[in-house]
Symmetry: C2
Subunit: 204 residues, 2 copies
DNA sequence: GTCTATAAGGAGATAGAC
DNA sequence: GTCTATCTCCTTATAGAC
């Protein structure tokens, strides 16, 4: 049995094309952002026509929603596969590292919602909201556990850590370093992790 | 002599309206972002018609450029007015605090350029680039001085600190805290400063 | 299911009257 | 300098042939 399970050949091909579309959408979304991404861009990148694209996804919002759902699922899968023996803080660090690598490889940031427009659109997408809440619940638990054990600062409100953590996954400094410094991706990830957890101050 | 110097009454009124337009553009830009801001939005917010708007600013790009130039100038002025006796790191902290307060008051973040489109547009704006380079030179000097004196981590590449510093001025965690936590603006600013300089780790 | 062709509407920019 | 009305282009989405 293939990885497609019981799907017919036709359905397999359909799934494959759907994934190719999501890949293209992810790539365009990463470079141009939601507002400037056009359905023509995506169709062109996949090599199909626009009406065919609409056979797979009923609207631009739907397409983008599915692309982001795939991203969130990737994060949840990554968390699930981590060594259970890792401490909460080390799990958070590993997930942030994963998110930064995904972005450096041309993927999307979580929280693509700097724009109020995009955020509102996503909040109307029930399927997306469900997945985000699932991931958020896991991250929140890790933050609280890390604060309790003293790995993270318990004096900070956990909201501050949580939201700042999300913000670090889409930190624009990553793009600027990639663009203007000669640093390797490895070094960028390492330094971004250090700045997130230790800030700018020297080790005391 | 008024603050307008030698300007005629007509020119004074012109300047006043121009400032009102920039205020409106700043506000719309802050809530909707560049791509979704329409010239109708701005004209409507000021209470003039679109053609009148185009008498003051020859294009949308021009208008946005001027609004951002005014913001950068505000930052430069703020820096210049700081107590010269402050240490480099404390100057950086004060400027970050100023930038966060501007945003919490409905203003714009620096570095509105999460989008490649907007960034490229701004980079073609010579006047804007000149101002940004001026501000950047001052901030870079402060970073290097703070690293040299040991106030900031000298083991980090200064690029990493510099770009991350800019990123903190537009940290989306600010909006999320304002929206979803019951925290006062004062507390938000205080916590964001702590997270920027000390990270998530507890004081050691 | 795929395409060519097109409808429908939005947004930047301007013509021309006053 | 200001406005009403309009031009033009672009983008989402679909109709209809194969």
């Amino acid at each position: 049995m293939s990885i497609f399970g019981k799907l017919s050949f036709k359905d397999q091909a359909f799934k494959l094309r759907e994934n190719a579309i999501l890949d293209a959408a992810t790539s365009v979304l990463g470079t141009k952002g939601y507002d400037l991404m056009t359905m023509d861009d995506v169709a062109g990148a996949v090599g199909i026509s626009k009406p065919s694209l609409y056979k797979h996804f009923k609207s631009k919002e739907d397409l983008v929603g599915e692309a982001l759902i795939r991203l969130i699922d990737g994060a949840v899968d990554y968390l699930a596969q981590l060594d259970a023996a890792l401490s909460p803080k080390n799990k958070l660090a590993a997930l942030l590292e994963w998110a930064l690598r995904v972005r450096l490889d041309g993927g999307l940031p979580f929280l693509p919602s700097t724009s109020a427009h995009v955020r509102d659109m996503l909040m109307r997408n029930l399927k997306y909201v469900t997945r985000v809440l699932k991931l958020n619940g896991q991250i929140e638990k890790l933050v609280l556990a890390a604060q309790k054990s003293g790995e993270l600062d318990a004096a900070l409100p956990s909201d501050v850590i949580l939201f700042s953590y999300y913000a670090r996954t889409c930190d624009p400094a990553v793009e600027y370093l990639q663009r203007f410094s000669k640093m390797s991706n490895e070094d960028i990830v390492r330094h971004m992790l250090q700045v997130a957890f230790d800030g700018f101050h020297p080790a005391r």
